[in-house]
Symmetry: C2
Subunit: 212 residues, 2 copies
């Protein structure tokens, strides 16, 4: 059963997020022939309902065997077909402090189609050098280098006070996706898909639910 | 209009997350007397609908003035009353690599009731010393130190292969909340409120939506 482009575009962000998480959980079974998994086991591991898991997988045209569940190989293959782009993504890390380095390690060690092709900073000790095997350029060169290296995704790990200036540089590129760790709100044009992550928000949510 | 404990417990996680985000956005207006904000402006900044904002604030007993919107001071006060605990939270950072240090910086510089009281690692160059003003102990001392320092929240920033061993140590403490950056799934007892953050999932979501 084929999946066409317009169908893909209709998957909601939360579904795509869960598909990516299913895959990460299933990766440990990769290569094991004929292994099955039940929706309630996936559900348990992700704190969602088994109905949610079945609904998500149904959207990809997958249904489980009532007794044995889903064939892991088939899940991995179909999730990959759905969410991966063939060429992968070319990523820039903007801001090479502790967070930037941590992100470079995470992405570099991951078994995905995400490739870090450049890093950017303003520190002369970093620009012009290689950091963790990746060339580091000055932030003022973002427009030129993004174009030259065909970067389509940027990860923003600069301090809050630098965020807006960097965002203005990004507006001069053809970047299409942005992951923003800076906790500063950015008004970006609609053709850029943006996701913010704010650690304080996560901690405050936990703090709320453990309040006695 | 008072808010009682049982009411608070009924707020869904997504609502609490948004309340925390509203507060971060509103913080820039803090101290400015009599400033109002419209639900559609908050909605725009967070990529949600104005109806969603109004519903969230209605849950806290707040309703806006049709012409002027919401009084910022009142929003900040009520959100604080709702999500903050009076004493704040005592946090341990477990794993003091690049990510651990980045998290210590974020939390230490934030204007919240989140206090980092200890760090844990296995590297002898770190344990026994202070890192960014915080005492660092060996991971084997987690049970003793969590108890002694009354730590109620842990942030897990250790490599994937170390995660399960650390989680077992955490099970020997009275910790109630956990933010897990390790991308390893943990089965924890229900009395621990857990949140996972996985950067690869965020990148894959962005990758999906920018696929042409």
């Amino acid at each position: 059963m084929g999946i066409n482009g317009s169908f893909k575009q209709k998957l909601p962000p939360r579904t795509v997020e869960r598909l990516s998480k299913y895959r990460r959980l299933l990766d440990r079974y990769a290569g094991a022939d004929g292994v099955h998994i039940h929706s309630h086991r996936l559900a348990e591991m992700l704190n969602v309902s088994p109905e949610q898991v079945r609904r998500d997988l149904m959207l990809l045209g997958l249904s489980g065997n009532q007794r044995r569940g889903y064939l892991v190989e088939a899940l991995l293959e179909r999730i990959g077909e759905t969410i991966d782009s063939e060429a992968g993504n070319r990523i820039a890390i903007v801001g090479v402090g502790n967070l930037g380095r941590a992100l470079m390690g995470f992405i570099g060690n991951s078994d995905t189609k995400m490739f870090i092709v450049a890093a950017f900073d303003i520190d002369p000790a970093k620009t012009g050098a290689e950091i963790m095997g990746v060339p580091c350029f000055h932030i003022r060169d973002i427009p030129e280098k993004f174009n030259e290296l065909k970067i389509d995704m940027a990860v923003l790990a600069v301090p809050p006070e630098a965020t807006r200036a960097v965002a203005e540089k990004l507006m001069q590129t053809a970047v299409r996706g942005l992951l923003n760790f800076s906790s500063v709100h950015l008004d970006l044009p609609n053709h850029i898909y943006k996701k913010d992550y704010d650690i304080i928000t996560s901690l405050e949510e936990i703090g709320f639910f453990i309040k006695s």
